[in-house]
């Protein structure tokens, strides 16, 4: 039993009541990580000094003003390594950023740390967040605590595993095509992909700028809502951050689903769902119906083209964003090159892994003269159709229910030789990124002992509804507190 099993508000009350100190909680998190993480590989680096310093500051605040201390004061968290942290190495799990120490922190980091969180360190991910299994990290694979022979999901695999194994209370990830929701589903935690622009991207190392969003991963829907509340809102440093006021994500969580119209897209059930995943999904839909929701079949007809559109648009934007990775301003250096071109080629060849090179090439191809109209422009038009599908759907229903992924966690190495099989892992998550809408993955059940997530998609700025439906699933499923075998749970 670890204190880290408790939800954040419970820990907050215990910290306020001085049952233990934030420093004691931080030490427990660091010791637990030291003990369990060698088998899991969720952290790329721990920052114990920073954690203990922040915990001591949190203790001072909790002592001076216990009733005024924020709920996140003294709570251990960690960040995906694509999120810049001032003075702490940030690599995006790529060799080309080995040794890069950002001179500033991302806005999300500043916002959390102003509230007194305890930052434990930086979490593993697929290189530049490109991947669905966490096997593309240049440094290590992250393993699934429910079965060490299986992947954690990606690209925010470290962020999901650190929560699933109760190493951190909550983490931040980023979601470009499903990179928060997918690993959340594979590891049995809650993951939120906010509406595009709801959370500042300042200080997020860019993958595909029109799709990327930062969001929380946590044990419970309430914990995720607490973190989202802290990081959401307009930021003058990110011109795509939305000026709309931030909703109260906590107030409506327990209102249930009675009277809500929930849509089930028929196309999402035609993608070759694993039998166990289908059973969990159908069981959840029945449960929500019994709770009073009105279930309606809907159609998102462009689904069949969404995957193809995404795998043109995301690599195209990546090929442009990653042009800055030239080894000059950061990175391992230019070697013994005698011309600038040689220097670039040396840095980029040595610095990028196979998947990143594949996507840069694909993106450069899609944008290149002669192919632009056939691929990039066409994909952007299909993107319009995907967004229109959702517009039509949300005129009919309040939220959409779907499996988060067609399967539960697959075996390490199972899809690495077949890029298209790996890409297809995102087929049910990436349409939400193309349309910019909100989504949550919440643990809904198990298939052959592996966690299975239910995805709740909401309209533009529909986080309140998504979280409310997800909370009902969490209450009905009653599994949020089950621990994986690595982490203290029974077989």
């Amino acid at each position: 039993m670890t204190r880290l099993e408790a939800p954040i508000l419970e820990l907050h009350q215990q910290l306020v009541d001085r049952e233990f100190s934030a420093v004691e909680l931080a030490r427990e998190a660091l010791e637990r990580t030291g003990e369990l993480d060698p088998a899991l590989g969720s952290f790329l680096r721990l920052t114990p000094d920073r954690a203990l310093e922040a915990a001591a500051a949190a203790d001072r605040l909790l002592q001076a003003d216990p009733l005024g201390a924020p709920a996140l004061c003294g709570i251990p968290v960690a960040y995906k390594d694509v999120i810049c942290t001032q003075g702490v190495e940030t690599t995006a799990a790529s060799r080309i950023l080995s040794g890069f120490v950002p001179p500033y922190s991302a806005t999300v980091v500043d916002r959390l740390e102003e509230l007194g969180v305890v930052p434990l360190g930086k979490l593993n991910c697929d290189e530049f967040a490109m991947g669905s299994s966490n096997e593309n990290s240049a440094y290590q694979a992250t393993r699934n605590p429910w079965d060490l022979g299986r992947v954690a999901g990606g690209s925010s695999g470290g962020s999901a595993v650190a929560v699933a194994a109760r190493l951190a209370c909550a983490t931040l990830g980023s979601d470009t095509g499903g990179s928060i929701r997918l690993p959340a589903s594979f590891t049995g935690v809650v993951g939120v992909k906010p509406t595009y622009g709801r959370v500042s991207r300042y200080g997020l190392i860019a993958f595909a700028s029109s799709l990327d969003q930062i969001g929380p991963l946590a044990k419970t829907v309430t914990d995720a809502a607490l973190i989202l509340t802290a990081v959401a809102g307009q930021d003058r440093r990110d011109s795509t951050s939305l000026p709309a006021p931030v909703d109260d994500y906590l107030a409506h969580l327990d209102q249930g689903v009675k009277g809500l119209r929930l849509g089930v897209p028929r196309e999402y059930l035609e993608v070759g769902l694993d039998t166990g995943v289908r059973q969990v999904f159908e069981g959840s839909v029945r449960m929500l119906e019994e709770m009073g929701a009105q279930i309606e079949e809907i159609s998102l007809p462009t689904t069949e083209y969404a995957l193809a559109a995404y795998y043109v648009i995301a690599p195209a934007e990546a090929s442009s964003n990653l042009a800055r990775m030239d080894g000059v301003r950061f990175g391992p250096g230019l070697g013994s090159a005698t011309t600038l071109r040689e220097a670039y080629e040396h840095s980029r060849h040595e610095g990028f892994g196979a998947e990143v090179r594949r996507r840069i090439t694909l993106g450069t191809y899609a944008l290149s003269s002669g192919y632009y109209d056939a691929y990039y422009l066409r994909a952007q038009k299909v993107r319009t159709l995907v967004a229109r599908d959702f517009d039509r759907a949300f005129a009919q229903v309040d939220a959409i229910l779907a499996p988060t992924a067609p399967t539960a966690a697959f075996r390490l190495g199972e899809r690495t030789a077949d890029p298209m099989a790996m890409y297809a892992t995102d087929v049910l998550t990436l349409p939400a990124n193309l349309a910019g809408i909100s989504g949550v993955s919440v643990p809904a059940g198990f298939a052959a002992g592996l966690p299975v997530g239910l995805q709740v998609l909401g309209p533009y700025l529909g986080e309140v509804t998504c979280l409310r439906v997800a909370r009902s699933v969490e209450v009905g499923a009653g599994i949020w507190n089950q621990l994986p075998p690595v982490g203290g749970g029974g077989e």
């Binding site: 001179p103 964003n321 950061f330 980029r348 090439t361 952007q380 890029p419 533009y460 700025l461």
Partner: protein
């Protein structure tokens, strides 16, 4: 709940098209080894011949899969480059503290006299 504004259709956000001499006619078909080599060179990836061969085989499959886009009826559909309420953000024209030269150069491998140092362009 805030309503769904839908996709705002704007054309200016564009990762950039790469123009290069010798580019083929507009088409959607298979990608061969020589094309993969040309594209990879444009992207300054420094790939070896063996790496290019592997990549060409993989891209063949991927490009063929994304080729299904040609079946979508988009004849009257505008392009979406970015969703959301994208608007210009301005601030008062006053000097603010930014990164100093030392901080800005802190991660550079080779520097001299407050500048980045790189091989000559030839």
């Amino acid at each position: 709940m805030v309503g769904t504004p839908g996709a705002i259709l704007i054309g200016f956000y564009n990762p950039g098209s790469v123009a290069e001499e010798g580019a083929p006619e507009q088409q959607m078909e298979s990608i061969g080894l020589s094309e993969v080599a040309r594209i990879s060179s444009l992207a300054r990836l420094g790939m070896t011949p063996a790496e290019l061969e592997t990549l060409a085989v993989q891209l063949e499959v991927i490009v063929s899969a994304v080729g299904q886009l040609s079946r979508a009826d988009i004849s009257t559909v505008p392009a979406t480059a970015q969703v959301g309420e994208l608007r210009n953000v301005t601030r008062a024209d006053v000097v603010e503290k930014g990164l100093g030269a030392e901080e800005a150069l802190g991660n550079a491998g080779v520097k001299a006299a407050g500048f980045l140092r790189v091989p000559a362009i030839q």
